[in-house]
């Protein structure tokens, strides 16, 4: 019967939740835009050495403070450095910090969240710990770390990563609490699974969706965090290029060359916006609240 949607003995829905979600995502123009921008930024960051027309540190005083032109797409700064190249390298720092900070927050936050959600006894302790972390905004932490170890990319990553841990813990704990009630978890217990097996094979894999969404929302916050820290001199320090550093040095020279502020600023805004759009799109795709049956 060719007019039947699928033959009677075939599976009920041919596309699984993963493929459906992908399809939904692909159909979302905003999310797709975000994805494209993110991919471009990541590629640019990775291939900066190859793609950048000029090395980041090359100065050329004869070409200082030039507005955007054919030779220097984003113009030059007061030292004659090509802004386009610097933005590319700066993106690298932003993307690195973004991913590393989120990686740190997940590495610490996910296990904590799993434990808090799974062992009711541990929940109050983890919650207090997380509350304590929340009490230290990342700026304070960054200042402290900078004072002890000197500001650097690493201190920025640690400061931002630690600041993101509470959110990761909350999401993971929530998912764990929800998944714990699932019959398949009970079935695994009844089959003789130890707690480790339950967490590893049954709970964590099914919490991944929520964590992916969480990551795509956390990364833009980390990127802005990095820019703020390096702007304040608490993160990446010059001459290493970073969008925040560029903004800092461009600030007093705004009158002489607005392009020095505009392009790094725009890069931060667009990258952040792209991650947010992608994150929203992922959330909708993975967890649609459809109103019709």
């Amino acid at each position: 019967m060719t007019t039947v949607a699928e033959p009677v003995t075939a599976p009920a829905s041919l596309a699984g939740p993963r493929r459906r979600a992908l399809r939904r995502l692909l159909r979302n123009p905003l999310a797709m835009t975000g994805l494209v921008v993110v991919l471009v930024a990541v590629l640019a960051a990775l291939l900066a050495d190859l793609v950048a027309p000029y090395p980041a540190a090359r100065t050329d005083f004869s070409a200082a403070l030039q507005p955007p032109s054919g030779r220097h797409w984003f113009g030059t700064d007061e030292l004659g450095r090509d802004q386009f190249s610097r933005v590319l390298f700066g993106l690298r720092a932003s993307v690195t910090v973004g991913l590393a900070a989120v990686g740190l927050s997940m590495a610490v936050g996910v296990p904590l969240g799993l434990l808090a959600g799974f062992y009711r006894v541990l929940d109050p302790f983890v919650s207090r710990l997380v509350d304590t972390m929340l009490a230290f905004p990342f700026l304070i932490l960054a200042v402290g770390l900078a004072a002890i170890r000197g500001a650097s990319l690493v201190t920025a990553v640690v400061a931002i990563g630690v600041a993101e841990i509470p959110l990761v813990v909350r999401v993971t704990r929530g998912e764990t609490l929800r998944l714990r009630e699932m019959d398949y978890v009970s079935a695994a217990v009844a089959s003789g699974a130890s707690d480790g097996v339950l967490l590893r094979r049954h709970i964590l894999p099914n919490a991944v969706n929520a964590l992916i969404v969480q990551a795509t929302v956390t990364i833009p916050a980390a990127i802005i965090g990095e820019a703020v820290l390096s702007f304040l001199g608490l993160g990446v320090r010059p001459p290493t290029p970073s969008l925040g550093v560029m903004l800092a040095s461009a600030q007093p020279l705004f009158r002489d060359g607005p392009w020095m502020v505009v392009f790094p600023g725009l890069a931060i805004v667009l990258l952040t916006l792209a991650f947010n759009l992608l994150g929203d799109g992922l959330r909708d795709a993975l967890d649609p609240r459809e109103s019709h049956r």
């Binding site: 019967m1 007019t3 039947v4 949607a5 699928e6 033959p7 009677v8 003995t9 009920a12 829905s13 041919l14 596309a15 459906r20 399809r23 939904r24 109103s291 019709h292 049956r293």
Partner: protein
Amino acid sequence: MTPLLEVRDLTVRFSTEDGPVLAVDAASFDVGEGEVLALVGESGCGKSVTALALTGLLPRGAAVSGEIRFTPSGRDLRELTERELREVRGRDIAYVFQEPMTSLNPVLTIGRQIGEVLRRHQRMRGEAARRRAAELLSLVGIPLPERRLREYPHQLSGGMRQRVMIAMAVACRPRLLVADEPTTALDVTVQAGILDVLRDLRAQIGTAVLLITHDLGVVADIADRVVVMYAGRTIEEAPAPALFATPSHPYTRGLLDAVPNPARHAEGGLREIPGRVPVLREAPEACTFADRCGYADDLCRSSRPELAPGPAGHPVRCWHPLSAAGPVAALTGRGPR
């Protein structure tokens, strides 16, 4: 006598992520004044969609065609504007659904919720509304109605809540009550009470009931007539006793045999129907039950059967309807359309 509701060739199509779905395929049936008609089928047969389609309650992506003639309105309901439909809903055609907990607003008292219905459709307020609300609660068999009016939904049990839903539904003495699986979520001993309420309503205020259910026991309990649906089509239509005594469609027979019933299963196991209910995209030129039917032949697979009187005298959509002795060969006079 003119039927209260005449549905002709009702067809509903949805566009979903996976493509178009044909949920209801040219369904036709009548509901008489004060009659209890049961629309029976398993999940995916289109019965709930049919019920919602009557007053335009389907979501926006649904394409509905056909005629829905409702006598008190004197018109085809499909021609009414949303505004006019809102008048019909609640006042002439009322609904009761399966889950009373989610149908009632948890932050309003029962009295206020019933009052809302009375205010909207009958412009009643204050003391008059309160008295009428209490009357309605006793009509559905709730003891101490005055007290109940001040209570919140969570203070009532599932059975009580369903009674309240029914009370709200009949507040305006609708001509037709559409009940979609009204007892499925309830315990068996509570279910009997709800069915009694529905039966009494017919006696007391003459409301007809369109009962949507998959439970043949419920059908046997209160239905006057039964329409069996499968994959969006109506496949058999009979007065309740006749349907159970002489089911003509192999699917109906299969359903009855699948329910454990000591009278039927003295020996061996329960009869199973192999395969699954199909999800259709288009109306096939064939009998939709053919691949699961033990009696199907080439005719069944190539031509769409129409509803026609079967060996037991009632309409059945089948090329080889069952008589007491076994399937009848293709009935004469019926050819492919």
